[in-house]
């Protein structure tokens, strides 16, 4: 498939110099996972005509990474359930629009249980209230208190704002779900959580609200929070789910492209932060991958880029970039892998055993 889309060819042209290996993995390994969400197609990213949308990935990140050109998602193509599948290493089958925990243990639980890590050592920054259960599964052997802290930046922002100001200056940051725009599960405890988080991140509520005003999108808000987390708590396992790209559901191609360009820039910003923060520099692996693609133009059952409903090859096949210590730079892996392979690979890198995950650790990493 990649031969057809040109993704492997385009990647190959980028790698003009001999592969090198990053610095040896030191102790105190860390990992940051970024989902290039929600749902981006090859033709707007790595195919020749899409490369103009991802200059940071192409020119800055790919040359330093091992690039998997065929990451296949065989599960349900809804953002929450697909992200949960990425986080458990098992294709979860729950209803995408229900606020339920994943059925299988998450990567955060494996990490904390096996490595005996405290709650503050793993965090998820998620785009909307619909993701609020992503940090901890319903699995009896794990679950209960072993998961990650989940931060929903938009919810924090909404709590930080006086109600009167929510509809104008900040509303562009508060949008929640593009497929069903008004779907926002109601969560309790917003204000108490806000102050607890402000305390944890050493960020005043007013500074947070004031900074948010300068941001253009929900994903920028998420990355801002992720950086705060990295500076203040330096979690060993951080998961950032980006979601601006899902504006595609509105059918506006220009907004979809803008979101891809923004996400590209934000990924580079995260890598830059990793390199500049002493707790992360030289000991952190960054994994960037879309949760899945979007429908092809040719499938009569879909409407092109707008949705991800057909389950066709383009909507199921994406890519993954892995960077950091122990990862060979400038390398392209064309063999097909599955999105459920992420958790076992994280297990290899960080040293835990995801025993219920169905995927396999990628031997090109670690």
């Amino acid at each position: 498939m990649r031969a057809v889309t040109g993704a492997s060819a385009s990647a190959a042209t980028l790698f003009g110099f001999a592969p090198t290996v990053g610095t040896a993995t030191p102790k105190g390994k860390r990992a940051v996972v970024v989902t290039f969400g929600g749902g981006a197609r090859d033709q707007e990213t790595f195919m020749p005509e899409g490369q103009e949308n991802i200059p940071f990935l192409l020119n800055q990140l790919v040359p330093q990474a091992t690039f998997f050109t065929q990451v296949i998602n065989r599960g349900i193509l809804g953002h929450y359930v697909a992200t949960a599948s990425l986080a458990t290493g098992v294709y979860e089958t729950f209803n995408n629009f229900t606020a339920v925990p994943p059925q299988y243990p998450t990567v955060f639980e494996y990490f904390r249980k096996d490595l005996k890590r405290p709650a503050t050592d793993t965090w998820v920054v998620a785009p909307s209230n619909g993701f609020n259960r992503i940090g901890e599964s319903g699995n009896r052997a794990y679950g209960g208190g072993l998961g990650a802290g989940v931060i929903l930046p938009k919810r924090l922002l909404a709590s930080a704002l006086p109600k009167s100001s929510r509809d104008d200056l900040y509303d562009h940051l508060l949008r929640d779900n593009y497929e069903t725009p008004m779907y926002t599960p109601q969560l309790k405890g917003g204000e108490a959580e806000l102050h607890a988080m402000a305390e944890l991140l050493k960020l005043s509520v007013s500074d947070f609200a004031s900074h948010a005003r300068s941001l253009a999108s929900p994903d920028e808000l998420s990355v801002y929070i992720a950086k705060q987390l990295m500076r203040q708590l330096a979690p060993s396992l951080l998961w950032v789910t980006l979601h601006d790209i899902d504006i595609a559901h509105s059918g506006t191609y220009s907004l979809y492209l803008e979101a891809i360009q923004r996400t590209d820039r934000l990924c580079a910003e995260i890598w830059k932060t990793i390199q500049s923060e002493p707790e992360y520099a030289g000991k952190t692996n960054l994994f960037i991958l879309p949760d899945f693609g979007r429908d092809s133009d040719e499938d009569p059952g879909g409407n092109g880029f707008q949705h991800h409903r057909t389950g066709d090859a383009l909507s199921r096949t994406t890519w993954m970039l892995v960077m950091g210590p122990g990862v060979r730079q400038n390398r392209v892996v064309d063999r097909p892998v599955q999105s459920t392979d992420l958790v076992p690979t994280l297990g290899t890198v960080l040293g835990f055993s995801p025993e219920l995950a169905q995927g396999k650790s990628l031997n090109e990493i670690g």
Binding site: E49, R74, G75, I76, L77, Y91, T93, N95, F97, D167, D171, H172, L173, L174, R175, D176, N177, Y178, E179, T180, P181, M182, Y183, T184, Q186, I247, H249, S250, G251, T252, Y253, S254, L255, L257, D297, E298, P300, G301, N303, G304, F305, Q306, H307, T310, G311, D312
Partner: protein, 403 residues
């Protein structure tokens, strides 16, 4: 309930034509698998408000299936019959609520990793039906006309990148009288081949013409309808009002009368179409570019017009979905440049959808950057992937397409 338990009385709530067809095919229905029959009924239940072309497509399926022996039917639907369904699906009133069944079936197939098998079975079934039923010769070649970029003064972005390989890229079109030329072609063709729902004009702003035999649809003409619908959506999505699934079901069940639309005959058919565009199309309620593209897609898929003119207008600038749905801005700010990018891609989709219809190899297509010098023309006599730098009028290009 399973298909073999069906009786004629169970279709008593169907509209007259749909009921009559259903009751004439009870024996056939009883032999179809549960993974297929409700989907056929989902189409049949709306038969009385379908466009002539889609009625014919449904009739074709009955023509294809009716003569088959039980053994042949078993073979025909073997792939559907092999799908593992949950007992819950049998409990749904799939005769009267086939759309709800379809939603649940879809969720089940995704959850049980059977969606790919289902898709393949569906594609193969439709291929066999189409191969078995000879398609009628079109009374005239099909023609698609698209005008994009209204309101854009300057554009630095290359246009028509996806369509250029399919035809001739004209770089020095005289924009003078271009719009009028498009309207004239549409009206002339409607007069030459008067056909119910055979010639369409869809505009992202206000309709600029009305003409006998031309089905007109515009974004602004549905303003009131859009507002009513968005209010309904807002109500449903309030805390306690339901969730996205409730919303989807509610929208699917919305009838034109509930939104203040009335009429009979062709007007009733169009009312159903208007409501379906706004309830089934994501973003159509908010963005005029999405409205035009989705309407064109549905018109082509369902009505299969001989002529389709779509004309894009600036869409409103991005606001948060919440803000858009709340309608807090009375005079939305417009984004003509963004609309141009949207429409450029949408024109490609309209061409793809046109090419899915019978007579594709003879069909003509024109996309023009309105009031500017660029256009692409596609048709049997036009050399693919070429450029034409000569000064030319839109009328001359239209004559090259042989409209």
């Amino acid at each position: 309930m399973l298909p073999r338990q069906l009786t004629a009385e169970q279709f008593s709530r169907y509209p007259p034509q749909a009921r009559s067809i259903a009751q004439a095919h009870i024996a056939l229905f009883g032999q179809l698998p549960l993974a297929f029959l409700p989907l056929l009924l989902r189409e049949l239940i709306g038969y009385d408000w379908k466009f002539p072309a889609e009625c014919k497509e449904l009739d074709n399926q009955f023509t294809y299936l009716s003569p088959l022996t039980p053994e042949q039917l078993e073979k025909e639907f073997a792939a559907f019959a092999k799908l593992r369904l949950s007992p819950d699906l049998e409990q749904i009133d799939w005769v009267n609520a086939p759309a709800q069944f379809s939603e649940k079936l879809s969720a089940h197939l995704w959850a049980t990793h059977q969606i790919d098998v289902f898709r393949a079975a569906s594609v193969e079934y439709i291929r066999r039906v189409n191969a078995a039923v000879s398609s009628a010769v079109l009374p005239m070649r099909r023609l698609g006309l698209v005008a994009i970029g209204r309101g854009v003064k300057e554009n630095g972005r290359p246009l028509f990148r996806k369509l250029r390989p399919e035809g001739v890229y004209f770089k020095d079109v005289n924009p003078q009288g271009g719009k009028e030329a498009l309207f004239e072609v549409l009206q002339r063709r409607a007069k030459m081949q008067p056909l119910a729902f055979g010639h369409w004009y869809i505009d992202g702003g206000e309709s600029e013409i009305t003409a006998d035999g031309v089905t007109c649809l515009s974004f602004h003409s549905l303003d009131a309808l859009r507002r009513t619908l968005v209010a309904k959506m807002r109500e449903t999505m309030q805390p306690g009002g339901g969730g996205p699934e409730v919303l989807r079901t509610l929208l699917a069940q919305t009838k034109p009368e509930e939104l203040g639309l009335s009429g009979s005959g062709e007007e009733a058919v169009m009312n159903r179409f208007r409501v379906s565009v706004l309830t089934e199309g994501s973003g159509t309620q908010l963005f005029s570019t999405t409205f035009v593209q989705w309407s064109a897609r549905e018109a082509l898929r369902r009505a299969q017009p001989l002529t389709l003119l779509t004309r894009y207008a600036p869409r409103q600038r991005e606001q948060s979905m919440r803000e858009l749905l709340a309608g807090t801005q009375t005079q939305p700010e417009l984004d003509a440049a963004g609309a141009l990018i949207d429409a450029d891609m949408n024109a490609y989709y309209t061409w793809i959808n046109q090419q899915r219809l019978p007579g594709a190899e003879q069909a003509g297509f024109l996309v023009w950057f309105e009031d500017h010098k660029e256009a692409v023309a596609i048709g049997p006599g036009l050399k693919r992937g070429t450029e034409d730098n000569s000064a030319i009028s839109l009328r001359e290009i239209l004559s090259q397409i042989k409209t």
